[in-house]
């Protein structure tokens, strides 16, 4: 088939367009250091939260950057390409996210602003008076974020592969472009902090929206319309695998597929704003009302995600098979763009994926660095660290985190990165009771929260590890049987139930024996507290809460 010339030689025009746009974005990233500066650059509120000064417009782009990563662009359609309707849970998930955000994030914003909290673990420490619980939250956040950053690289890799450079293997010369891209990303994050991804997010979203709009209008006309696309997908997915004698999937959920679909949507929605990088976009806003006002506009991202997901079916209709993509479904969307668009526009579309990787990778590394600095370095290593020292530690850790992710991708294969990211979702959800529960009640004892967290982590990790398939021995599936039933569900949700059971039982015991509760640094009024002009102006001089 003529579509299948995916990896013959370097695609010059595409490479040229991608390089040009990349250079533009890199320049913006460095210029961002001077953008909207309000206070001393050597303060973590400045570097790590953009001076907490972002209004509705920037916030929209910044939070969109969390939701719309290169990985979403590549993996969600790949899931539909390989498995059908179950992959479409991503749309339900991004619907469920917004009501959740509407309910609890304004409270988190208020209490964080009032007490100068930079990370979710800061809040947990202040609320529950427990450094060990805060450490647990911080470590979970870092561990869950690392593979997520690695996956942004996987997204870039698949673009490079389709353009005829780079590869799945790990030879240094072929990975050189990836290496260069990452050094530039690391450098501008180091100098500009959160302002860099906030500024680049404009370019990224512009490219992504143009690409998706053109893709959902133009590609179906070339493939004979939506009826044909769904028909082709349905036929292909129903074909039986010669090894397992089972169909790959279906364009509708199979029997027993509804609970996995629903739990994947719920679990992912609850998990998203537990990720430190997602919270950062909220904590960086100037006003409490910005968060809620933004929620409705943010649903535009969910709609786009729905159409992005359907690119997976378009790839099927275009004649791509797992085999023609080099055995890697992750290449489906880049290969589809490469085959369908004239090369100059394919260049723009592929650049959208690459730049789409830079924004979240920068936010994630800043978030992980803030966690390390505030909840490990300051709490356990150097309690007397000045603002300037904290900022420096964060800057260096952001570099370390990114090169860790790079080593991860180059050293291991992409599949391991994906496995660890799936595990990350299971782990991060276990912080939900301590963070969201803590926003509403102090009924739960700090040690009970810690025990519940540990139980959920252990259960989730073991079960995820045990999942095997014909091609993979471990981490082969996100869904597993619920114990003592024949029904499958998302492992993260089952683990959260284990977490909650342990939490409730141990809480009763701890309260019965009157175990010492931690000191609550917050007061009820802090959770509804709104910004006023005076406080916005004095943010940089706000004393650190220890």
């Amino acid at each position: 088939m003529r579509y299948l010339a995916a990896s013959t030689g370097v695609h010059g025009v595409e490479l040229g367009v991608v390089t040009a746009l990349f250079v533009l974005v890199a320049v913006l990233g460095f210029l961002a250091a001077r953008w909207r500066r309000t206070g001393s650059p050597q303060h973590l509120h400045e570097w790590g939260l953009g001076g907490r000064s972002f209004g509705g417009f920037i916030t929209w782009f910044l939070i969109g950057g969390d939701l719309y990563t290169a990985y979403t662009f590549v993996a969600v359609p790949a899931a539909l390409f390989a498995g059908g309707a179950l992959g479409f849970f991503a749309v339900g998930y991004t619907i469920l996210v917004w009501p959740l955000v509407f309910i609890f994030l304004p409270r988190l914003w208020s209490v964080s602003r009032k007490h100068g909290y930079v990370t979710p673990a800061d809040f947990v420490k202040g609320r529950h008076g427990s450094r060990s619980l805060s450490l647990a939250i911080a470590v979970t956040g870092i561990v869950a974020t690392m593979p997520y950053i690695a996956l942004q690289l996987v997204g870039i890799q698949s673009v490079l592969y389709v353009m005829g450079i780079g590869s799945n293997s790990s030879s240094f010369a072929q990975d050189l472009p990836l290496f260069v891209a990452f050094i530039i990303l690391a450098a501008f994050t180091y100098t500009s902090g959160l302002r860099a991804p906030a500024m680049i997010a404009f370019v990224k979203d512009l490219l992504i929206y143009v690409t998706i709009l053109v893709a959902v209008i133009y590609i179906p006309t070339r493939l004979g319309g939506w009826t044909h696309i769904f028909g082709a997908a349905s036929t292909r997915l129903a074909a039986k695998n010669p090894v397992t004698h089972l169909p790959a999937g279906s364009t509708l959920l199979a029997h027993g597929g509804t609970l996995p679909f629903a739990t994947l949507a719920i679990g992912s929605a609850m998990a998203l704003f537990m990720y430190p990088h997602a919270q950062i976009g909220v904590l960086a806003t100037k006003q409490r009302s910005t968060v809620r006002r933004n929620v409705s506009a943010l649903t535009v991202y969910s709609l786009m995600l729905g159409f992005v997901a359907l690119l997976g079916y378009m790839a099927i209709a275009a004649g791509f098979t797992g085999k023609s993509l080099g055995g890697n479904a992750q290449h489906a969307v880049p290969a589809l763009f490469d085959a369908m668009f004239p090369s100059w526009f394919a260049g723009i579309a592929l650049a959208a994926i690459v730049i789409g990787a830079l924004v979240p990778a920068a936010i994630m590394s800043i978030a992980a660095a803030n966690l390390f600095t505030r909840n490990i370095y300051v709490d356990f290593v150097n309690p007397a660290a000045t603002d300037s020292q904290q900022t420096n530690v964060s800057k260096w850790v952001s570099l370390l985190v990114k090169f860790g992710a790079l080593a991860f991708v180059l050293g291991l294969d992409a599949t391991s990165a994906i496995n660890f990211q799936l595990l990350g979702g299971v782990l991060i959800l276990q912080t939900f009771p301590a963070i969201v529960g803590g926003l509403y009640t102090r009924y739960f004892h700090r040690w009970a929260l810690l025990l519940g967290w540990a139980a959920g982590i252990v259960y989730g990790t073991v079960v995820a590890w045990q999942q095997s398939s014909a091609t993979q021995h471990h981490f082969a599936s996100q869904v597993a049987l619920i114990p003592w039933t024949h029904q499958k569900a998302y492992i993260a949700v089952t683990a959260l139930v284990v977490n909650l059971v342990v939490l409730v039982v141990s809480n009763l015991v701890l309260r019965a024996i009157k175990a010492p509760a931690g000191v609550d640094a917050t007061s009820p009024a802090d959770y509804d507290h709104d910004s006023d002009l005076e406080q916005t102006a004095s943010v940089t001089t706000e004393p650190e809460t220890v």
Partner: protein, 98 residues
């Protein structure tokens, strides 16, 4: 009903309305069996797909409604507090509308 002498309680019609706007899309997404069908089709899309895409748009509209309901509710509470300055230190809510 605004400007009454009784203080706004925990539950007001506005808050209830906002809660409904938030709850409705959540329930709609979780009720998977209600939309796991191929028909009726729309523009070539099986029901399963176009329904969820439509739900995204509806959720966006409901979130706007919930935002305004909460905003009006908060303003009424503020007005009430201003009218009855019984509390020792009246909290200033800031210039939210700007």
């Amino acid at each position: 009903m605004a400007g009454g002498t009784t203080p706004p309680g925990m539950i007001t019609p506005l808050r209830l309305f906002a809660a409904l706007c938030i709850l409705a899309p959540t329930v709609a997404v979780i009720a998977v069996p209600t939309y796991n069908t191929a028909t009726p089709k729309l523009g070539g899309f099986p029901f399963f797909y176009w329904y969820q895409l439509l739900l995204v748009v509806v959720t966006g509209i409901l979130m706007v409604a919930a935002y305004w309901a909460m905003k009006i509710d908060e303003r009424r509470r503020k007005e009430f507090r201003a009218a009855a300055p019984a509390e020792p230190a009246g909290r200033d809510g800031g210039e939210a509308g700007a």
